[in-house]
Symmetry: C2
Subunit: 368 residues, 2 copies
């Protein structure tokens, strides 16, 4: 996982996005740092995964945005989330330019009526708002300040929306660096999954200056069904997202510990699911993830390595603040062990498989 | 907390219940072992606490039981739960004898139309069903096999319902010991809180022989709105309850870690509550307990020491099964630290206060 300081070194070592012929993987993740597999393995599923961490938590009938925006927008990162957000912006009336390190995604976007761009700088030229939909701080810095970065062309007074989950201090540093150049920065982590992105029904945990909110509002109205305005400075949005990730990660590890221990005792885990989801031991993650264990289906909806990354960020934040977090530290170790056992890219409910394997416990679909 | 083996030694060292003049404390808890404060401190709030762990998790409009039973029942332990259960049995048509170590509770019960008894043995004489509503295995064994215990008088073929949360192996051992004498044993941990107990609307996690279920059913119908039949042998009910307690305890510790860390970062914890309860990081315990932190009100609904006890039982069970449980082990340490800091009898959300105090973080109503 990234250490706070080494992550800064990592940012400086980042290479620009490299073209990829793959369309099966989230694409902007290729704009990654070399030689930091633990840092970047997570990113390779993160458009899907990180957001599906919060998918389905709101009632399905959440109204899609009826906002009609005007002006020019750019979306950097046309993965499962970014592509849908670009569609929502177009539907709301924006003239939208799109860039992705995967040329095929850009071609598809252009074929469907968007403006394809060959670089973040080209996409951002003349844009009122640039929406960055990448996986982490390293990619965000590359898009802002790397070769052909947004900072080279973005108009004065235009706003950069950063949706990646990252350490709040890193978000503050990126924002300060951009705002020193006369542009606005909105710290705006997102959740809701690919379908809500396409519907303009995301949840956004946002913080930034009143000017940044004002400039970004038409785009936020186009993309979000629920906007939390969490403070007047970048970093607050990131901090709320990290608190959610702390809890979500611990709850997956606890659910895995509990259901594997129940199986070890010979309990019917389908019955355990029925009883716990009607009891005080329930959590959103238990209810959402444990069916994967009951069904023995570890097809990744959200990958183990996403929480290796996010609980790692929590540890870095907490150590830097001299704040002990023993419960999330224990949870991180279980995600790390699951990743070390070769399941890093599998569904994060695989933590239950790790408990089962090290104890010789049989779980559905996974002979111990 | 009780170690599996030492808890058995503890059972053998148990003194019979001693009369108490206090009516303000749950009463059967006085049937405790001498010199085991960590084991027994929890019990002193447990009628209130252990059950409120699961209070309010079901919709308020759960119908109260309309069952009408016949025959004779005994309730041992007329605390906040047992008294209500005895009322539900009377309402259903049972002739109910009640015993408690607190003579005042027995007198009140008799004054309200019940039969007061002077010992478990007297209460159980001629009873078809004996409902034990005490806090732990030690008290349960005292009631069964101690001086003036139920086993001295219970009729052949009558059933003993044990509602205390305990190690499933201990439940199996108590059941085997009683069933060897020709009586039936139903392992039947309860949840739902004092109000549901009085309404006959409890949740029961039960396991036992078909004969035990058949004999107990009229009483279960009178006391429970929701009955989970979890197996045909004692121990299964206890095992399901312990899995719930593992999750509930970890979720309280995680919620405390998260909200105190959020406060440490200067986030508005009322806003954190709003965002998290609408997010994937939510848990039943976060939603139920964190308002105590936001309000700075640590009046005990469920005490810290209840989870010192229950997560302790989990550790004993897991170590005995050679099953690592690092996440709940970390959570237990935080409950222990909170108890060691003098908050053992305070509300279990006090774990957040411990995080705040050791980090100099300010929480509402608790100057750090």
């Amino acid at each position: 996982m990234p250490l706070r300081r080494s992550s800064w070194r990592a940012l400086r070592r980042c290479s620009p996005p490299r073209p990829s012929s793959s369309t099966s993987e989230p694409t902007a993740s290729r704009g990654a740092c070399r030689g930091r597999p633990l840092l970047h393995k997570p990113s390779q599923r993160s458009f899907l995964s990180e957001d599906q961490v919060m998918t389905e938590q709101f009632s399905p009938e959440v109204a899609t945005s009826g906002a009609t925006g005007t002006g020019r927008a750019a979306v950097i990162g046309l993965g499962s989330m970014g592509y849908g957000m670009a569609q929502s912006l177009k539907r709301a009336g924006f003239d939208v330019a799109g860039f992705d390190v995967n040329a095929a995604a850009v071609e598809r976007f252009a074929a469907e009526g968007g403006r394809g761009a060959s670089s973040p700088a080209e996409a951002a030229r003349d844009a009122d708002v640039v929406v960055s939909v990448v996986v982490n701080a390293a990619q965000t810095e590359t898009i802002l300040f790397g070769p052909d970065g947004v900072a080279q062309t973005l108009a004065d007074g235009a706003v950069f929306l950063s949706s990646a989950t990252m350490d709040p201090d890193v978000a503050r540093a990126l924002a300060a660096r951009l705002e020193a150049t006369g542009r606005l920065y909105l710290d705006a982590p997102i959740s809701g999954g690919a379908q809500r992105a396409a519907e303009g029904a995301l949840t956004v945990l946002a913080s930034g200056s009143p000017e940044a909110f004002a400039k970004a509002r038409p785009a936020l109205d186009a993309m979000a069904a629920r906007l939390y305005e969490l403070g007047d400075a970048p970093g607050q949005g990131a901090a709320f997202k990290m608190i959610n990730q702390l809890l979500a990660g611990v709850h997956i590890a606890a659910a895995s510990e509990a259901i594997a221990f129940a199986a070890r005792q010979g309990l019917d885990i389908a019955k355990v699911y029925e009883v716990i989801t009607a009891s005080a031991g329930n959590s959103w993650m238990f209810e959402n993830r444990m069916p994967h264990v009951v069904d023995g289906d570890y097809t990744p909806r959200s990958a183990v390595d996403i929480f290796v990354k996010d609980l790692g960020i929590i540890q870095d934040m907490a150590r830097s603040a001299k704040f002990p977090v023993p419960v999330s530290a224990a949870a991180l170790q279980m995600f790390l062990a699951t990743s070390a056992a070769g399941m890093g890219r599998d569904d994060d409910a695989s933590v239950a498989r790790l408990y089962a394997r090290i104890t010789g416990t049989r779980l559905p679909g996974d002979p111990a």
